[in-house]
């Protein structure tokens, strides 16, 4: 299982890449493995307000439907249109081409939005869950 060190994570198995005031969001390698083949992702609309911890989309795999929670507060600026054509990108490249959406953060003063986990913390969390 890969957990890139430069990213932040949530207990809901999502990752966040911070680039200035923009946060890119996706689901982790651990999540895509647990879900199985992803067949459809329902995204928030561009321009929609999202709130940390609130559902803003769905990932549907062959096996199940899971909510996507926004990891941060802000406004959706972009969604990954490629996913609509090929939802399998979420499985094949969860941290790259399989990103889901981008959010313009409300708070850009602090360095890291509250509640996010480091790679080390997230790895520990998934290990715990596996035991």
């Amino acid at each position: 299982m890969t957990v890139p060190t430069e990213l932040y994570y949530t207990p809901e198995h999502e990752w966040v890449a911070l680039n200035g005031s923009i946060a890119s969001v996706g689901i982790t390698d651990h999540a895509q493995r647990a879900l199985g083949d992803v067949v459809f992702v329902s995204m928030p609309a561009v321009g929609a307000r999202v709130t940390a911890g609130e559902p803003c989309g769905e990932v549907e795999s062959t096996k199940s439907v899971s909510d996507v929670y926004s990891p941060v507060d802000g406004e959706v600026t972009e969604i990954n249109a490629e996913i609509d054509e090929d939802a399998g990108l979420v499985n094949s490249d969860p941290y790259g081409a399989g990103w889901l959406f981008k959010v313009k953060l409300d708070e850009t003063e602090g360095d890291v939005p509250p509640g996010l986990l480091s790679a080390t913390e997230y790895t520990a969390l998934t290990k715990e869950a596996d035991e």
Partner: protein
């Protein structure tokens, strides 16, 4: 000394391992507890595994399936009494799909019965139902000169399924596979090991099920994998098995079949031999049911929706509840969503006469338009 019992109340026993579980672990499979067994859900992508079975071949561990032997001079008569079908009419070496009903006609399980010899039958049951079926068979056979034994631990079961199955198997056996007919079984040698070789399956493809001694399971798995590597054979898990059987329109016990339903509900009345000589358990209820108009009908639905219609979702007819989805999937072969559902016969009739406009599945609050189609969704070219 006072000893405080550990808090084990309510905890589940560890799932049972098949003779191939270590092999699956080595292959990096995602394992899941299925009916009390630790089984491979998938090895990599379940969609790739599904497609391999449709276009080349897949290798499945089915050792969780229950094997019950029924032997003795009264074995054939005992099974005629215990099951809805007529195993006494089978020639040795032949097999038949059948069911076991309760007194009220409800389906306890769907089964394959192999007649291995005149007085020797092997009944293959679903893993979740093996204990129930074993107990029912023992009780029903008590008045006959027949013995029922649970032989599940004596068999590993490997399925080789797909259009390339025969070509992959042929170099590993001296048996002439062209002579092994569909639903036939023969004692054979595969990769130097004695097995029972059956031309059966649950995928809608040609293929074989190989009953072997547990100690031979890993050897057979490796030899088959090696033999098929050039043909595109890959191991396939339960996730692929489920979408394969669904495309092929085959019922799954617990979804399309339950103890609340008779074989007639599932459109499988043909497995009920009401006119076989002698009575059988459930006969009165099933005879009664056979003469009545159906209360529900098992149908196939296709949807253009991106979302998947899943087990338990409601079927709507002009916005009103008209039935329930029993199984649904994103069909890898057809590229659309498919489902089997029980709907009211009125709606089934109306839609087949006037088209499917008005038919929908409630997918988490969205009425997604559905089309009624004939089962199966997929039929292989023969």
């Amino acid at each position: 000394m006072t000893d405080t019992a550990p808090a084990t109340a309510g905890s589940m026993p560890a799932p049972r391992r098949t003779p191939l579980t270590s092999m699956h672990e080595q292959l990096g499979a995602s394992l899941t507890d299925f009916a009390g067994w630790l089984m491979p859900l998938r090895y990599g992508s379940e969609t790739a595994e599904h497609n391999a079975v449709r276009t080349a071949a897949g290798l499945f561990d089915l050792s969780h399936m229950g094997e019950l032997s029924v032997t003795g001079p009264g074995a054939a008569a005992a099974l005629d009494y215990a099951l809805t079908g007529q195993p006494s009419a089978l020639q040795p070496g032949r097999a038949r799909y059948t069911m076991i009903s309760a007194d009220d006609g409800g389906v306890l399980d769907d089964l394959i019965v192999y007649r291995l010899a005149g007085e020797e039958f092997l009944v293959v049951a679903n893993a979740a139902n093996t204990a129930v079926v074993g107990a029912a068979l023992a009780e029903r056979a008590a008045a006959f000169d027949a013995e029922v034994a649970d032989r599940t631990d004596d068999y590993a079961l490997i399925a080789l399924q797909g259009p390339r199955a025969a070509a992959i198997l042929a170099p590993l056996t001296s048996t002439d596979l062209a002579g092994v007919k569909y639903y036939a079984s023969y004692p054979a040698q595969v990769a130097g090991r004695d097995v029972l070789l059956a031309r059966t399956g649950y995928t809608g493809e040609d293929g074989f099920e190989i009953f072997a001694a547990p100690r031979d399971a890993e050897h057979l798995w490796m030899e088959l994998s090696k033999a098929g590597a050039g043909d595109g054979l890959i191991p396939a898990g339960l996730a692929a098995r489920d979408t394969l059987r669904l495309e092929a329109g085959m019922p799954l016990y617990g979804n399309e079949l339950t103890s609340d339903m008779t074989p007639f509900d599932a459109g499988l009345g043909r497995v009920v031999k009401l006119d076989k000589p002698g009575g059988f358990v459930g006969r009165a209820a099933l005879a009664d049911r056979a003469g009545q108009p159906p209360q529900r009908q098992l149908v196939g639905l296709t949807l253009q929706s991106r979302r998947i219609p899943r087990h338990g979702y409601q079927v709507l007819w002009h916005g009103r509840p008209a039935g329930t989805v029993t199984s649904g999937a994103a069909s890898p072969t057809l590229g659309i969503r498919i489902a089997m559902a029980y709907i009211s016969p009125d709606v089934a009739q109306a839609t087949s006469a006037a088209g499917s406009a008005g038919l929908a599945v409630d997918i988490r609050g969205n009425a997604e338009p559905a089309r009624l189609v004939e089962l199966p969704f997929y039929r292989r070219r023969s």
